[in-house]
Every structure is written in structure tokens, then in C-alpha cells.
Amino acid sequence: MSRSFLGMPAFPRAAALSTRDTRLRANLTHATHTIRDKRAGAVAELDDWAQLRAAGAAIKDRTLRHLDHYLERLEESVTAAGGRVHWAADADEANRIVTRLVRETGEREVVKVKSMATQEIGLNEALAQAGIRAYETDLAELIVQLGDDLPSHILVPAIHRNRGEIRDIFRREMGRWGRPAPEGLSDSPAELAEAARLHLREKFLTAKVGISGANFMVAESGTLVVVESEGNGRMCLTLPETLISIVGIEKVVPTWQDLEVFLQLLPRSSTAERMNPYTTTWTGTTDGDGPRTFHLVLLDNGRTDTLADTVGRQALRCIRCSACLNVCPVYERAGGHAYGSPYPGPIGAILTPQLRGITGPLEQSLPYASSLCGACYEVCPVAIDIPEVLVHLRERVVEGGPVTRRGARVVLKPAKGHAAERAAMRAAAWAFDHPGALRGGMRLAARTRRLHPGRLPGPGRAWSDTRALPAVPAESFRDWWQRTRGGADRSRRGGVK
């Protein structure tokens, strides 16, 4: 894959383009509405959903508050079970470790289970530079890879593509990567899935190295858990001789029992199923069953910086179910690519700026890629208050302030382009401290209201491009109250009660 999320334009520019793509919007509206309705049904089957959600949030919070303890415990148990644990402070280091581990096997090809962590660090590109070809084996990831495209959804990365586009990609590209698409391939999903089955089986049966992420890691037992549907995960996790799993440090849960919460929350939130077709768990290596060598690469890459922010920390509870994407009015219209990261939608809008730092124009724009309607919080199975974090990050963008970058405390400068907003806020603060001036200003505004323009001039123009200015009433509330005592006079006369 040659495309990369890095260097993408800020959200408003990217979204201005994508919202004009009518085919993309039709594909997305169909997909997100289908899955959000199904999800509501799957969740309604469990009358203790609220309790499960509270337990999920509490387990994750407790783990995050003692993350050092649980990581050390995890390392111990994975090592005791025959695995080898590596630590990566950032994306480059993780890529170097994985490249070295693959090279040590002598192989030049690897099969991959769909993994957000490897998307985040750009592993495929790093391996390609080292002359190692990584084959994506999840059907949607295969579509993205063959199409030299970028994923646009956490669960269904090719959600922006319809069946006709997928058929064209398969016909055109499959032969360049291995077994070509069958002659006369139609656009029926069953035929397309069969073409993928045949194409990928060649890879699975010969692969010596598998690469995965993990949905959960159990500290007490050293068990890793991967949930999936197609069986490509099982293929990559059990057929190769060497397995390398790259997992974010926030994916740890304390106990085996904790899985009883997440294995109920995740499938129903994610694919809207009672349970996903396949779940694989493994603990180190097992004689005669599965890979002989297992490496676990624990990835920081901005997670400890996120952990240092006591408001933003809750983003690390995320179990990557993607329920928040499917209910988001902004995601539905803008599409996933506009977020400029493998993590799109509401969770991406808070995760990306925190993992990467709020320093570039894209990262500064993401906290604004939301209407703050709160639907994302309602559906989140681990109760991440995404609107709260969005507002918190907006404040950081406008005002600057203390943040942690690569483990060090630094003071962030206010972002450029927010000077007018800051000036307006300062003026408002002064006015509220000076009641006389406020009253005078309001009276002046009321008397000149016929002269007010429909749009703001100067720095406010961009703001009023997409918003209607509120009409100024003929009389301020304070004056009205002074005159009528809250309408008490009228009610005595038998008016409004």
C-alpha cells in the first residue's frame, strides 16, 4: 500500500470534498443505518446492558489507573507461557522490532489479521521498505489494499465501496498480488467473497509468519484474545510457525473473568451480533498446536501521553467497536477518510489528536468535527464521554496549556486562527463583570437591530458562513423583567397562566 494518512488536510477541507461525493454518501448512509438499527436490537436483548456498560467502564478505568502494575503482570505471564515480550515507545520502534523479527525468520512475506494498531504505525509501509510483503487477509482490508486505498471505518474499512467498485478492484488487481479473480466475476457479495477465499487460501497455506493485533490481553494469565468473523484471523493465528502480535498497552484487562463483560459488550456493539462467529484465545505457545514462536510487541505511541490527561484518559477505554461511527451525523456525511487517521468518527476525533498531539492543523481541527449531539456517548459500550473530551480538547486548541508529549510536560501554544474567538471570549468575560456596560450594550443592540447584517464581517465570516445569526429582540430580558416583573402583572389580569 502506498497511500498514507499522514499529511492529510484538516477536517473541514477534507469534509468539504467528501460531502459532495454522492455515491460515498449513499454507501455510507445505507451501511450506518443498517448496522445502527441491528445494534439497537442486539443490545435490547440484554436487560442488564446498563450494568454491563458500567462494569466495562470500571474495569478499564481501574486497569488504566494501575497500568504499570498490569503491564508488568502481563509481561510475566506471557513470558512464563513461552512468549517473548517487546516494548515499543513509538511507531518507528515498533516497526523496527517487527521488521527485525520477520527478518530473523528468513521470510519475505507475512499474512496479517486486521489490526488497528498496525494501521496506526504504518507497519505495511515499513515492511515494504525492508522488502517484506504484508498481505491483508480480512476481506475489507483486502479490498482496501488491492485498491491502493485507505480504510474509512474501524469495523468495515471498505464501507465506502459498493459491490461494483469491489468487483472492478478484484478483476484489475488480484492477479498482481497472487491468484487472479475468477473469469466472469460478478458483483454478487457471495461471488466476491468466494474470489477472496480462493485468492487468500494460497497465502494462508504457505505463510510462515503471521501478524496480528489483539482485542484483549489478560494480565493474570497472559492470554491474548482476537474476535473476528471470517476465519482469516484463525488462519493467521494458528497456521504460521511464528506469530507476532502488536498491541496497544491499553488493551490489557486484569482477569480472565473480566472477559465475561467484554465478550458481551463488544460483539453486540460492533457487528450487532450475539457473538461474532470466531473468537481465538491463546496463552504463549502450545506444543503441537499453533505457532512455535510467539512475540508480543507492547505499543505506547502516544498512549501514555493520553493517559496523563485526566479528562482525555477515558479515550483509552475504547474497545474499537465502532458503534459511535454508525450513529454520528458528521461521520455519516463526511466519511471516514476526512478524519485523516485509521481512527475515524467521534472516537477518532478525540483519539487522534491525543495520540499524535494537538500540534498540526489536522489534529487541531478534529475536536471540531462534531455537532456535540451526544449520540456517540449514548451508544459507547464503555461509556466514554466523547463530547466532554471534545470540549476539553477544543479548549486546549484555543487556549493552549499544559500537555504531555513523549512523556514530557510541555506547554502548548494556542492554535493560530482562533484569535478572534479568544478576543470575543475575553470581551464577554469583561462585560459580564461590568453589569452597567452589559446593560448599555444590550440596549444599543436592540435599538440598532434593523441595521444588523445577516453575516458577520472580518474574522467572524467563516463562522457565520454555516450558521444563522440569532435575531436580537426589541427589548433585552433585563429590561422586560424590570418592566413586567416576569409577566406577573399580566397573569393578575387573567392573561397567560
Binding site: 454507501n27 445505507h30 436483548e45 436487560d47 442488564d48 450494568q51 454491563l52 462494569a55 470500571a58 474495569i59 481501574r62 489507573r65 494501575h66 497500568l67 504499570d68 498490569y70 503491564l71 516494548w87 515507545a89 476481506l139 475489507a140 468495515v156 459491490r163 457479495p189 467473497a193 477465499r197 494462508f204 497455506l205 504457505t206 494469565s221 468473523s229 471470517e230 476465519g231 482469516n232 484463525r234 497456521l239 486484569p254 472477559l259 465475561e260 463483560v261 458481551q264 457487528t271 450475539r274 457473538m275 462467529p277 470466531y278 473468537t279 481465538t280 484465545t281 496463552t283 502450545t286 498446536d289 499453533g290 507492547l298 505506547d300 501514555t304 493517559l307 496523563a308 504531555t404 512523556g407
Partner: protein, 218 residues
């Protein structure tokens, strides 16, 4: 400083707000969610399992333990299976009337050799009614994970009611995390193309579940 030390030091600095006295198991997690959803008799739990398995497109059969060999023989014949892979500890009676040639599960066999086999017959560790899930733990009657993955047809025998639990919280304490586990809920499926569900991508496209009741099955 190693990256391990770097990351752990960053974690500790990031958690400066956590009070010193707070232990890793504080505060207790509220576990007032249900152990199982609703109350059911044993028969109803088995019925729910059958319903949920079928809902996710597994083919469900029920029989008395004594009739298991005849049923398995018939299912393999109807499928036209010429070869069937057999885990080392599978009850030999189960395949006593099957005509398909039996292929033992040997660690030395390559995945490609396994790809040429038509069917696989296994037992299971347990089944979860609320989710319609079979769990395999690599026990002697189930074999290695790959044998239930590569052949296109899987017949899984569940001994009812002993191997059936109601819910996920009831399943986990009965499973050992040290063993490699495979949870199977319906056959392999994808919804990656316009969210249309298609059965069978890489795992077995046909999953047949036999709910076998009676003493001989245990």
C-alpha cells in the same frame, strides 16, 4: 534506559493523580450484571442453544446418544465426504458406521494436506445457549485448532445437557485460559460488502451441530 523502562516510567508519571494508597484491585468493579439472562429449565436452555445456533446458520440436529453413529454416518454421506479428519481422542463408536476414510490428526501434517480433506468431526468443551456458541479447547476429542478451520465441513457434537451453559459468565469459569480456545458462533461469515452477510469465507462454510442426549454420549 530500555524502552520497557521508558514506557513504564511514562505510565507512572502520567498517573501522578492516582492516590498512593489506591491498590490495583481498588475500587471493586460493580458486578451487578446478570450471571444469566432470565430463568430457564435445562430443556429450555438446550432449546435456546438450538434456536440461536440455527439463527446464525448452523445446521442443527438432535439425537439420542445411541443414534449418534448412524446420524454422523448419514451426514457425511449426504455431504459426499470421502475423507474425514478425526481428533485422537474421539469416541471411535461415533464414526463406526461412517464410510468416509478416516484421517488422523497428526502434528506433522501440513495445512495443505488438511486442505484436501472433506470434513471434520469433533466434540466440544461446552456450548453457550444465549449466544449460540460452541467452545473448543483442544481436548482429545477436539484436536488442534487447525482441523476445525481448514476443512470446509465441520460436524460438532454437543453432549446435552451436560456440556451446555446458559451464558458467557457461566462459560468462562469452566474454561482454562492456559489452553488455546476457539469460540465458534455459526459458520465463517463476512458482512464486508455493503453489509450483506455471506456465509463462508475462510473457515468451514458448513457447520453442523449434533445435540446428542443420553448417558452414552457423556
Amino acid at each position: 534506559m530500555s524502552s520497557r523502562d521508558v514506557v513504564l516510567a511514562r505510565v507512572r508519571r502520567a498517573l501522578a493523580d492516582v492516590p498512593r494508597g489506591e491498590g490495583p484491585y481498588d475500587p471493586p468493579v460493580p458486578r451487578d450484571y446478570h450471571r444469566v439472562h432470565g430463568s430457564r429449565t435445562t430443556e429450555e436452555t438446550v432449546e435456546l442453544l438450538a434456536e440461536h445456533l440455527a439463527d446464525y446458520r448452523a445446521v442443527v440436529h438432535r439425537c439420542a446418544a445411541d443414534d449418534l453413529p448412524a446420524l454422523i454416518g448419514r451426514l457425511l454421506a449426504e455431504r459426499g465426504a470421502r475423507t474425514v479428519v478425526v481428533p485422537p481422542g474421539l469416541d471411535p463408536r461415533w464414526l463406526s458406521v461412517a464410510e468416509a476414510a478416516q484421517v488422523p490428526d497428526r502434528a506433522a501434517d501440513t495445512a495443505r494436506e488438511l486442505d484436501a480433506v472433506d470434513s471434520v468431526v469433533t466434540g466440544c468443551a461446552l456450548a453457550v445457549a444465549e449466544t449460540g456458541t460452541l467452545v473448543l479447547d483442544g481436548g482429545p476429542d477436539q484436536g488442534r485448532r487447525r482441523i476445525t478451520l481448514v476443512p470446509d465441513h465441520h460436524i460438532c457434537v454437543v453432549c446435552v445437557p451436560d456440556q451446555v451453559v446458559g451464558s458467557v459468565p457461566e462459560a468462562l469459569p469452566r474454561l482454562s485460559p492456559e489452553r488455546p480456545l476457539t469460540w465458534i458462533s455459526g459458520p465463517s461469515a463476512t458482512s464486508d460488502i455493503e453489509l450483506d452477510r455471506v456465509e463462508g469465507v475462510h473457515g468451514p462454510r458448513t457447520l453442523e451441530v449434533v445435540l446428542a442426549s443420553g448417558p452414552a454420549a457423556g
